[in-house]
Point group: C2
Chain length 318, copies 2
């Protein structure tokens, strides 16, 4: 039986009809009316009705950025939408009778899809890091998504790697998000551009781009194996490997999966991550080493994961 997955992003709401095998049969997208929480609920209801039209649907999963409670019903806080302790599940359930609704954090939904149908397939313990503007995370242990005691587990971006380090948007300092994200990559690349030498191509590209480096510019130089851009990526990978060593001591995953735009760099990112992980691994040599892989479900992982989590919640695998 199919399930529906909805992913509420900052700019668009995506919805999909998803099979048990993780295949998308139908996909719809709408712009997110970010300033109007009621309109978002209307869009989710409309998408579920449209996607489910003519199908027997028992479950719909909704993924959104933010803190979701452990009961998967309330959005405590969403950074992009004006939701504060929003009883989203109840509001949707009233308007979608007969459909089991669950709410999940968007990084958790995407990570779950990767575990079930992507790079984490076949393992039992996976840690995913999503390297976009920030650093997102999702954790699977013994084949289960780790939600935590209050629903806020897997916020790996806020593991601290440097005491009194770079200020973070969360109000703290030194979070790995400030050393391992796309934004950090731009900072490292800017520093290398300023330093001259191998930084000259970065400096020229920055000038040509109106004085600012962005993801597209740096990604193009990385793809060309520009030494300065690769050095910035190496610095990023070095920090991520250090964070993975700490995460490994706590969670001991079989595989670390890297998603998000920066992970498109593939082994150019993963090689320094692996190297740094091994250099910082406690009691190295006494147990098997985890794998480091790039995520496979680049697009639509959120809707696929949200649908699958909802299907599991509804106990409907048949």
């Amino acid at each position: 039986m199919h399930a529906i997955g909805i992913d509420i992003g900052g700019t668009k709401v995506a919805g999909a009809l998803v099979t048990e095998g993780g295949d998308i049969l139908r996909l719809e997208r709408r712009p997110t009316p970010a300033g109007d929480p009621d309109a978002i609920v209307d869009i989710v209801v409309e998408l579920v009705r449209e996607l489910g039209d003519g199908e027997r649907i028992v479950a719909a999963g909704v993924a959104a950025a933010g803190f979701i409670d452990a009961a998967q019903s309330t959005v405590y806080y969403a950074p992009n939408i004006k939701w504060r302790s929003e009883p989203l599940r109840d509001r949707l359930s009233v308007r979608l009778p007969g459909i089991d609704i669950t709410i999940d954090n968007d990084a958790n939904a995407a990570g779950w899809a990767e575990y079930r149908f992507g790079a984490g397939r076949g393992t039992t313990d996976m840690t995913m890091l999503t390297i976009g503007t920030g650093v997102g995370g999702a954790i699977v242990t013994e084949g289960r998504l780790l939600r935590g005691g209050f629903g806020a587990a897997g916020e790996i971006g806020h593991l601290r790697v440097v005491p009194d380090g770079h200020p973070c948007g969360c109000g703290q300092k030194g979070c790995i998000e400030q050393y391992g994200s796309g934004r950090a990559l731009m900072r490292f690349a800017g520093e290398i551009a300023d330093a001259g030498g191998i930084g000259q191509p970065l400096a020229r590209a920055r000038e040509a781009n109106g004085g600012a480096l962005d993801g597209t510019v740096v990604a193009a130089l990385i793809a060309d194996d520009d030494p300065g851009a690769l050095e910035a990526l190496r610095e990023l990978g070095d920090w991520l490997g250090q964070a993975c060593a700490s995460i490994g001591a706590v969670l001991d995953p079989q595989v670390f999966v890297f998603g998000g735009g920066v992970a498109m760099a593939g082994d150019r990112l993963l090689d320094p991550v692996r190297e740094s992980f091994l250099a910082h691994l406690p009691a190295r040599g006494f147990h098997p080493e985890p794998q480091f892989l790039v995520a496979q479900l680049v697009n639509d992982a959120g809707v696929v994961g949200a649908a699958d989590l909802a299907r599991i919640h509804a106990g409907s695998s048949g």
Copy 2:
């Protein structure tokens, strides 16, 4: 039905007959023949036979310090005993037919006992830190002991808190074990003693103790509310709170439980831990705060937890 728990420590092997409710009916102890792995197996077999004499026993759990594989059968490495990839479960099973044997890490067994019958009771997600000579850990998520993909999860002592920090026995630098353990407390106390001022009572106690501070001396000064000793404990608690903030971002437990000798200081330790945790919590204020508690099962947690885990493994709750 009762189960048997065995805890193989560096100096003694403890064994107990344990009820479903976590009560110890019989307890036996033997010195550990640390240099003779075969003799240890003999002692475990002997203890299981003695404790099970006249009882219907279906399960026996064995806890030991070291890395245990995810299948709970092999000791990859034990720091105190010459075991390297030792197939302990098979060796015991051959000699104890009809009894389901499982092997667990000793910190995990003790943490499980605390979760089931102690300070973690009634929660679903607990993180335990054992503050002894080093820093041990055990993690329960959704009511399950987190063993990890290779059986080595919960090594919280090797979460790194300072890049290029104090050297650790694991071969790395800056692990929380070097800032949050009993050994770290002695280091902080020694530094305060050297500094004069509030350190004078510590300095005098050190001199009276033959020139070295030890746990007994510092604990006595802490119990007397000596300002220097309390300052050393505060420094320890500050680091532990910082580590808990990082652990919280990843695991989001409802409760942090502190065990081990240093945790006997109670709120004198927990107050600074809590304060530091809140000061370092990412996105503070957006979700409920965990509790910080002292462990309740100070003695024999290892045997109780090992027995309970073995009972669960055997599927024998009746």
